[in-house]
């Protein structure tokens, strides 16, 4: 899952990016609203984490502009202001959730998963597809009831495919979800992950659509 983090504090932003990466998210980090707008036009994100106290254009302004342009990107506001008015203003101007500093990193990850789940209209936090069960919260995957050990990238590929069963995701799309700015991408990285997933699950778990991309296999 690719996330846009908008936070002006260097030390906090760095630590948050690192924490979210440990939880398997792909995180792009902008330090001001203007850079964030640019990032939103060039990439597709599942969730935006937004600090309200930004230099120049404020976070609230950014939310209002996005919503005015009919952008429905889920936004979680992260701020040090915990006054009731701040929370109400943030939510009323179009934010989906709110997290006050300091916070428990696991809670933030859970909130990110929750808002992205709501966006695609899924009710349960666990995705079940045939014999495959994937739990985004615990990063666990079961195949036919047996736990399967996956790397973070393999997990991300499988999650991306499972989120929209039947949809065909191109190699570029998958790369886009897996790698943030500045990440090194091998030309055949996605192929390697797919190969490993087939080996760990089953040959029919992921299907290749020639010339287009990949999709999740039929329910077995």
């Amino acid at each position: 899952m690719r996330i846009l983090l908008v936070e002006d504090d260097t030390m906090f932003g760095g630590a948050l990016q690192q924490t979210l990466r440990l939880d398997g998210f792909t995180v792009d980090w902008s330090q001001n609203a203007e850079d964030a707008e640019l990032a939103l036009t060039t990439n597709e994100y599942a969730v935006m984490l937004l600090d309200l106290g930004l230099p120049a254009k404020s976070g609230l302004q950014l939310i209002q502009e996005l919503r005015a342009n009919n952008n429905s990107l889920p936004i979680i506001v992260i701020t040090a202001r915990d006054g009731r008015n701040d929370r109400v203003n943030g939510l009323d101007s179009g934010a989906d959730d709110y997290q006050v500093k300091p916070f428990d990193p696991d809670e933030l990850s859970a909130r990110i998963r929750a808002v992205s789940r709501r966006r695609i209209g899924r009710l349960s936090s666990v995705i079940v597809h045939g014999l495959i069960t994937l739990s985004p919260a615990t990063h666990e995957v079961f195949y036919d009831g047996e736990p399967v050990s996956l790397t973070a990238k393999e997990f991300a590929v499988l999650a991306a495919l499972l989120e929209q069963p039947g949809a065909i995701l191109s190699r570029a799309t998958l790369e886009d979800r897996l790698y943030g700015w500045g990440d090194e991408v091998d030309s055949n990285a996605v192929e390697v992950h797919i190969h490993n997933l087939r080996r760990k699950l089953s040959k029919e778990a992921i299907l290749t659509v020639r010339g287009v991309g990949y999709r999740i296999g039929e329910k077995e």
Binding site: M11, F12, L22, A80, R81, F103, P105
Partner: protein
């Protein structure tokens, strides 16, 4: 506790009572004295009329008249040894010489049984009119008291008038007192100054000024506390995340990096806390240290020495280019905070390999402390705002508390100096010039 109302009332009341009593007493004595004369005159009048008309007009005066009864007048008319007439036969008085006399029949009980009489010899008759002294006194007292009575009634009304006036005049004071007692930390509005007596206005004005100061200080404090809490949240959140990363990092190398980051996070948080404390200590309300003679050159040397290591670590060259022996008066801590924040800031914003210079020099009649760096500088339009608490310039390097220059300003307020921000060497970086008025030589 003295009450204006109580005091006014006591003074006016006792004064009034004393004056009324004195006046009443003197009127009383005067009336009694005057009545004595009137009574004597009356005796004479009765005697003359009796001597003229005794046989035809008798009985005279009638024993029925109230006045006579009240005045206890008795008339005797003698012709030689013969009693011709006696209005009161029970009261026979021996013959006296002509004129007014006071006669005591019973010598022992003095004036109790005394008489005042007038004896008149005319046409071979002797007319004696007598009046008991006791009756005279009783009558006199009765009349005198009747004279004084209106005075008593008047004084009663006067007292009521005084009470009402005092109450009415003190009403506005009472209102002000009520308004003051309604004030609290939450309600520090000024007291209404309209409709107040002239005498109370200055007091209310003073109280309003005080309230205004209090309200401003209180606002500032609560804003500062809110800001401080807010500013501490980010460093604390950072530490929390860094601790989380440390816990989850698997190999030694990752652990080492995470550990370093955590350390930096804690350093930033503790720097923020110590800056907050420094600012709190420099608050105008906190007058703890006594002003003393401070040596600018020694303090500058000490600060430069203490920052040498930090500068070296960053690769910034820190020089004390000029250090004249100068002293000022003030609090040592304020001067230390001032210098260390200016020098620390300069090192912070100067890129590695560049220079920071510090100088202490005399300029006309002022002592100057100057720090020059080659960092990004501060654009002229921001040179006022940078002294605000928690103000950080756009695009400024992170990690600062946003309090450094506020501390400098508070310290300057205590030391009584001025600061000017300008451009550094060759229009690059920042030059902070602090000017102090110098201690008079030998002082």
């Amino acid at each position: 506790m003295t009450s204006i109302k109580g005091r006014l009332f006591t003074i006016l009341f006792t004064g009034l009572i004393a004056i009324i009593a004195l006046t009443g007493w003197s009127v009383y004595l005067r009336v009694i004295h005057e009545l004595d004369v009137v009574f004597d005159y009356q005796l004479m009048e009765v005697a003359y009329s009796a001597s003229l008309n005794h046989s035809d007009l008798i009985p005279l005066p009638s024993s029925e008249t109230t006045y006579e009864r009240e005045a206890h007048l008795a008339v005797q008319v003698w012709k030689g040894k013969e009693l011709v007439y006696a209005s009161n036969p029970a009261r026979l008085i021996p013959a006296q010489r002509q004129g007014l006399t006071t006669l005591y029949l019973d010598q022992k009980s003095s004036d109790k049984k005394g008489w005042r009489l007038f004896t008149l010899y005319s046409f071979g008759k002797m007319v004696q009119v007598s009046q008991p002294l006791e009756a005279r006194r009783e009558l006199a007292i009765k009349i005198a008291l009747r004279t004084v009575k209106p005075l008593m009634v008047a004084s009663f009304f006067l007292i009521i008038l005084i009470l009402l006036t005092i109450n009415y005049s003190l009403k506005s004071l009472k209102r002000v007192a009520g308004e003051i007692s309604n004030r609290s930390f939450a309600v520090l509005e000024p007291i209404e100054e309209r409709n107040l007596p002239q005498e109370v206005v200055p007091m209310v004005e003073c109280i309003n000024t005080l309230l205004e100061h209090l309200s401003r200080a209180f606002d500032q404090q609560s804003r500062f506390i809110a800001d401080a809490a807010h500013e501490l949240r980010t460093p604390l959140a950072t530490i929390q995340l860094q601790a989380h990363i440390l816990k989850r990092s698997s190999d030694e190398e990752e652990k080492k990096v995470a550990h370093e980051q955590l350390k930096a996070g804690i350093e930033r948080a503790s720097h923020m806390v110590s800056q907050l404390l420094a600012l709190a200590r420099l608050e105008p309300e906190m007058h703890t240290a006594r002003p003393e003679t401070l040596s600018l050159d020694e303090q500058a040397q000490e600060i430069v020495d203490s920052y040498e290591k930090i500068a070296n670590k960053k690769g910034v060259r820190l020089y004390l280019v000029e250090n004249e022996q100068l002293s000022i008066t003030g609090e040592a801590e304020a001067l230390r905070e001032l210098m260390s924040n200016l020098v620390g800031n300069a090192i912070n914003y100067t890129p590695p390999g560049d220079i920071v210079t510090v100088a202490v020099r005399r300029m006309h009649r002022t002592a100057v402390f100057e720090v020059c760096d080659t960092g990004p500088g501060i654009p002229p339009e921001e040179r006022e705002r940078v002294f605000e608490r928690f103000y950080r310039m756009k695009g400024a390097a992170n990690g600062g508390s946003g309090l450094g220059l506020s501390i400098v300003k508070s310290a300057l307020d205590r030391l009584g100096g001025t600061i000017t921000l300008g451009e550094g060497y060759e229009g690059k970086g920042l030059k902070a010039t602090v000017e102090f008025s110098m201690r008079p030589p030998g002082g």
